[in-house]
């Protein structure tokens, strides 16, 4: 994703830096210590946790379900307060199929600007603090996510976070939301765009150290929770305590037991994805090995040339002639640069994520099957 117009849109939507609170006289007062935590102008308090509002949860779920494939993504709005990033609203971004098209990028920026302005008028928060992405079966390591997050992390105050929502897990009954941001080490490597083996070793980068997870909480405000509890409480008639036969549940939201279903629904798909990712990884490794071999060949040729030169010079000096100049080897032999290993790193991360979700389904499946088997009294 080209960084220019997106970054410009982000810069345009940043909250303007607030002046220190002044009563009426234009003198700058120091912020009283009690308020220092709330009014955090320099973004000094680091983010330690993320808090999602109930509405954001349902909006993300709805958008992820309706978007074709797994392309649901959108922006998060909110504020940070005393080390906790509170996400209070979100909106989906239209899906642009062709990422390279300049016009579509501009239209996305326009959409974003218009949405932020409109939300501001109804007193909703309008500062972008990150973005969310929907995905299936655990596969959120891809280039666009990394790129977007890197841009956000540089531009936004506190660095943005990305919230990842797993659609397939939610369909199984466990709504999953996880918040991530890029680690320091990865950001350094990314800025230099240098992912050769040496740089990986320096930063000790494996796929698991690309993103770090931030603890996530979900908050329902009092109004919503009271509304929900009115809807979901079972209206139990008073006679039920003595005679359970009379107790009927008339809740608007009856409890669901869909997690008790036997059968591993997503396993074939998951296995397919693992095999596909492994194939991709193998191709990638093959490419890397080929490039390495080329580099080694060129290096060997260059070294041989230098050695020959030295030998010639030595023999000429011995014979009393002027030594030949040692030409710059780099101009003669073009050694291709070290290949970037970012893609293979991301692929490994994806394989690991698929394996993890497969493991979870298998473990719950095992528990359920042994429970069903235990019914026979074995």
């Amino acid at each position: 994703m080209a960084a220019t117009s997106m970054a410009a849109a982000l810069a345009a939507s940043l909250p303007a830096p607030q002046a220190a609170p002044t009563p009426s006289a234009p003198t700058y007062e120091a912020i009283p210590a009690s308020m220092a935590k709330v009014i955090d102008i320099e973004a000094e308090i680091p983010i330690t946790s993320v808090q999602l509002d109930a509405m954001v949860v349902s909006k993300i779920i709805k958008h992820a379900k309706e978007a074709p494939g797994s392309s649901a993504h959108g922006l998060l709005l909110g504020l940070d307060l005393d080390g906790t990033l509170e996400v209070s609203n979100s909106f989906p971004l239209p899906h642009h199929s062709n990422d390279e098209d300049d016009k579509s990028l501009k239209s996305v920026a326009r959409y974003q600007g218009a949405m932020l302005r409109s939300l501001k008028e109804v007193q909703a928060d309008d500062s972008v603090i990150g973005f969310y992405q929907g995905m299936t079966l655990g596969s959120f390591f891809n280039q666009t996510l990394v790129d977007t997050q890197a841009i956000h992390q540089e531009k936004l105050r506190h660095g943005g976070i990305v919230i990842v929502h797993d659609i397939s897990q939610t369909a199984r009954g466990n709504a999953s939301f996880r918040a991530f941001r890029l680690t320091r080490a990865f950001l350094d490597a990314y800025k230099k765009s240098n992912f050769s083996s040496t740089s990986l070793i320096d930063h000790r980068l494996t796929f698991s150290t690309i993103l770090e997870e931030v603890p996530l909480k979900i908050r329902t405000n009092a109004l919503v929770s009271s509304f929900l509890s009115t809807l979901s409480e079972a209206a139990v008639p008073p006679a039920a305590a003595t005679n359970p036969a009379l107790a009927t549940s008339s809740a608007a939201i009856p409890p669901s037991y869909s997690t008790l279903n036997l059968g591993l629904a997503n396993t074939p798909r998951n296995l397919e994805l693992i095999v596909e990712a492994l194939d991709n990884y193998k191709t990638e490794e093959g490419n890397l090995a080929y490039l390495h071999r080329q580099i080694a060949r060129e290096k060997a040729k260059a070294d041989a040339y230098v050695a020959k030169r030295k030998e010639e010079n030595a023999s000429r000096v011995a014979a009393g002639l002027a030594p030949l100049p040692e030409e710059d080897v780099n101009r003669l032999f073009k050694i291709p640069p070290e290949p970037s290993r970012l893609e293979s790193l991301l692929l490994l991360g994806r394989i690991d994520a698929y394996g993890k979700s497969l493991e979870e389904t298998a473990s719950t499946g095992l528990v359920k099957m042994y429970a069903a088997k235990g019914n026979t009294g074995n």
């Binding site: 379900k65 899906h95 897990q169 009954g173 466990n174 509304f227 359970p244």
Partner: protein, 301 residues
């Protein structure tokens, strides 16, 4: 799933046969998705102090048999004084266009307001929205947030119909139509997440997303509690303390009757073996990926 205190209202509807696909027919029922509900409540929370109630637009889809499904909602600026009411149409248009870009299938189906008093202003706004949703009729959702004393939280849906000898835009009768909450699997698990924390009334509740196994544990625990209750009931019936209800007894026999004896044969065991193998494979894949990434870090010396 009814949305609101049970009432004895009977819904009068004009459901003549052969009335199906003519446009302009009255909607017969409304289903609301939780997203819309939460957006409305959030908007109500954020309103200015001067405003007593807030209004906004409802987006959704219509089905052929007159059922309207409300999928999302957004707030609209409006001001209401003793003399007049004003709705910001420009804002409404802009927001609708933005929403339409993301989700082309949703159209304007009506409007909502918090607070359940239906007055002349409601009639005027209903008229405006009917123009927007032409040729179909606009539905009006009145959400009672339950904040004031004596009013229970709930949602009611209405359709406007003209009344009076000379129908004027500011007179209309709001005919109630049935309204319920509907959600699919994904939203269901989201709702579970939101309602699962032990409720601490009066303050915000915090929940932490749990793993699959914890969720399974919770439902197994609930199941076990239910089984305990049933067991105590059955025992009390057998001991003669409580008169048994024949219907309940038959239902229990049907539910708990089929045994799992013959599961041993057939595919159960092979499925179990498959699951074990899949689990082993997943672990293998993960350790392989980890080893491979560490190998990349080893410098060839």
């Amino acid at each position: 799933m009814p949305l609101g205190p049970p009432s004895s209202a009977i819904f009068l509807q004009n459901v003549a046969p052969g009335f199906t696909s003519t446009p302009g027919r009255t909607p017969t029922s409304v289903t609301v998705h939780p997203v819309a509900l939460f957006s409305i409540l959030d908007h109500y929370l954020r309103r200015n102090d001067a405003q007593d109630r807030v209004i906004g637009t409802l987006l959704g889809t219509r089905s052929e048999n007159g059922e309207v499904e409300v999928r999302s909602a957004f707030a609209v600026l409006h001001s209401e004084t003793a003399e007049q009411v004003a709705v910001d149409m420009e804002y409404h248009r802009t927001m609708y266009d933005l929403h339409h870009k993301v989700n082309p299938k949703e159209v304007i189906v009506g409007w909502y307001s918090t607070g359940s008093n239906l007055n002349t202003y409601s009639a005027l706004i209903q008229n405006f929205y009917t123009q927007e949703t032409a040729p179909h009729q606009a539905i009006h959702l009145a959400i009672n947030t339950g904040v004031e004393e004596g009013q229970q939280a709930g949602v009611k849906a209405y359709v406007g119909s003209p009344v009076g000898v000379n129908p004027k835009p500011e007179n209309c009768v709001f005919v109630p139509i049935p309204c319920e909450l509907r959600f699919n699997d994904a939203e269901r698990s989201g709702l579970d997440l939101l309602t699962s924390a032990p409720a601490n009334p009066g303050s915000a509740t915090f929940t932490n997303p749990a793993s699959d196994l914890e969720l399974l544990e919770r439902s197994l625990q609930q199941l076990s509690d239910m089984l305990d209750r049933v067991l105590s009931y059955v025992q009390s019936v057998l001991a003669g303390e409580v008169k048994g209800d024949a219907a309940v007894g038959r239902y229990l026999m049907d539910a708990l009757g089929p045994s799992t004896e013959d599961l041993e044969k057939g595919e159960f065991n092979s499925h179990l073996q498959d699951t074990l193998m899949v689990s082993y494979l997943a672990n293998l894949v993960r350790s392989q990926a980890e080893v491979s990434s560490r190998l990349a870090l080893v410098k060839a010396s």
